[in-house]
Symmetry: C2
């Protein structure tokens, strides 16, 4: 029924021990390792109650208890003391980031850093296009009927796309197109551009209309539909840490899920500002990840969010530590981005 303080303390102790030892924890061992101030028998009663309420379960009758997903959830929500990063970790973060040269570099370093610090699988989303603004659009003639469209965003992303023109385009026209496109779109957030692109075509003189229409359709594709989805992944090998046991027998489903960008984006995307989100087991609605938890956070310069990052590991995970690390790294990347 009620969750009095001691029961919560017992749950916390069980989670901590289980995360550390990977073995079901019994009442006796529990009182020995933690100062609970009561006897094993009492703890047993509490355990039974916690099991009744769905926070614990027993692998078999005469084994210790193991937290359920609900148990971890309760632990994360109410029992976690925020663990400050160790100085060593802070230093690792600082050192990891000296001498970054461009966005690719930032993303790759970040994902490795995250994987290394948390010893888990790390995912970092590139700054999402829809939340970025256009800095510059460049048109480069490749052949007489082909242009390369290069878009540079304020977050440093560079997207390119080949544009097949209906007919030959003289170089002066390319200049003119470039001028107009930039005039209209530079500085705009990508999410706001589609109507502008339309007016761009409307305002065009009939002679260049066809060319512009062609360009516009590719622009729309590039700006909104496509390649929202870049991301980087690292630390897959960490899945094997602690045998295959952590993932109920096979890594298969997890590895499969990690291959699907769409799935990963779902996991680390959709973030509310400045929170770190934890999804435990079933909570991340993907069947393949029933036995995994995801800790994720948004990042971006200042208070705005331009992308997500996170780590994935077994439900049996050091939540306080992982949450602290993810949050710290997210903040750090945000700062780095703000400097550009």
């Amino acid at each position: 029924m009620s969750l009095d303080d001691r029961k919560l303390a017992v749950l916390r102790a069980i989670v901590q021990d289980y995360v550390e030892t990977r073995e079901p924890v019994g009442s006796k061992a529990l009182v020995e390792r933690h100062q609970l101030g009561v006897s094993p028998a009492t703890v047993r009663n509490d355990m039974a109650a916690l099991e009744e309420e769905g926070y614990l379960r027993q692998p078999h009758t005469s084994a210790g208890r193991v937290p359920t997903d609900a148990g971890y959830r309760l632990f994360v929500d109410r029992l976690t003391r925020i663990k400050p990063l160790s100085p060593a970790e802070r230093r690792a973060i600082e050192r990891f980031m000296v001498g970054v040269v461009d966005l690719d570099d930032v993303v790759h370093r970040t994902v490795r850093l995250l994987a290394q610090l948390t010893r888990q699988v790390a995912v970092v989303q590139y700054p999402s296009l829809s939340r970025s603004a256009v800095r510059h659009l460049e048109l480069v003639p490749i052949s007489t009927t082909r242009l390369m469209l290069v878009m540079i965003t304020d977050t440093g992303r560079v997207e390119q796309r080949l544009v097949e023109m209906p007919g030959p385009v003289p170089e002066t026209d390319v200049w003119e197109l470039r001028r107009r496109v930039n005039e209209k779109l530079a500085g705009q957030r990508l999410a706001d551009t589609p109507p502008l692109v339309q007016t761009l075509v409307d305002e065009c003189d009939t002679e260049r209309r066809a060319t512009m229409a062609c360009l516009a359709s590719v622009l729309l594709e590039t700006l909104v539909e496509r390649s929202e989805e870049r991301l980087a992944l690292a630390g897959t090998a960490n899945l094997t840490r602690g045998g295959v046991l952590d993932f109920q027998g096979t890594l298969r489903p997890v590895l499969e899920a990690l291959e699907e960008e769409v799935i990963l984006l779902k996991l680390i995307g959709d973030l509310e500002p400045s929170t770190t989100r934890v999804r435990i087991g079933d909570e991340n609605e993907i069947d393949n990840l029933r036995s995994a938890s995801v800790v994720s956070s948004g990042y971006g310069p200042g208070a705005t969010i331009v992308g997500g990052l996170g780590v994935l590991g077994p439900t049996r995970m050091d939540y306080p530590g992982t949450i602290a690390t993810v949050r710290a790294v997210a903040r750090y990347v945000g700062d780095l981005l703000a400097q550009n």
Copy 2:
């Protein structure tokens, strides 16, 4: 000593059976499944001889035989009949590639295709910069003292890099720099550019000298030192096919190796023209991949090679099938590239 025809037939049969069943194969089962025309006892003698010569080994005294790395090597070199692709596979390749829009697209689709067809881990290297030629260089002002350098190659790769200038650069200077750089470098193979970049600085009037020098150093970095190393990976989940047994217990080392781009490049790089290379177990000098084989091939438009691709799987792998697939895909990608 000598490897008469029957012994070779026996070896071939053993490799085929073992690849299929994953179990040590004994003399009796062998004569039952293949028309060898001799008795089990004879086969046993041959097996003993093959073991003596290092092509087979016995997990334990009363078990069947298993091919060694040397056995597979012999099989690949002398016993493989080239297996033509099934029509279904051909169709899969064709269908997989309809509607590609740019290089990223080609590479990503290719790597997935390879993984899917071979049911193994696939790696595709982006067209290597050093073997490509510059198509166009673009300079985009980001702020008064910062330029974005964008390079487009004839293989469709686009590389970008931020250039920090010593002082403010007027827009007319940017145009001038762009003109000169393109005049000198466009059309050149990247490998040939470094001396040209130097002359570019030398020929510059003193007033723009500092700016050009700055640009040149970044150019050199971009052109030769850096980002030779892009590649795509897919099919990691296929490693779990057939339990963990194939990789002597843990996927750990394999997954670790797959995270290191340098290692992957070593595996699929350094290719002689139009051959498909097979590296079995120990042959790929990386400790972590003792239990893995790599089948790789170069690809490129026409007869030139601009990059490598390949698959990685357990030494116990269907070599004829894998080799055929890798070769076919490599050729197909080459054709695709030639069309651009």
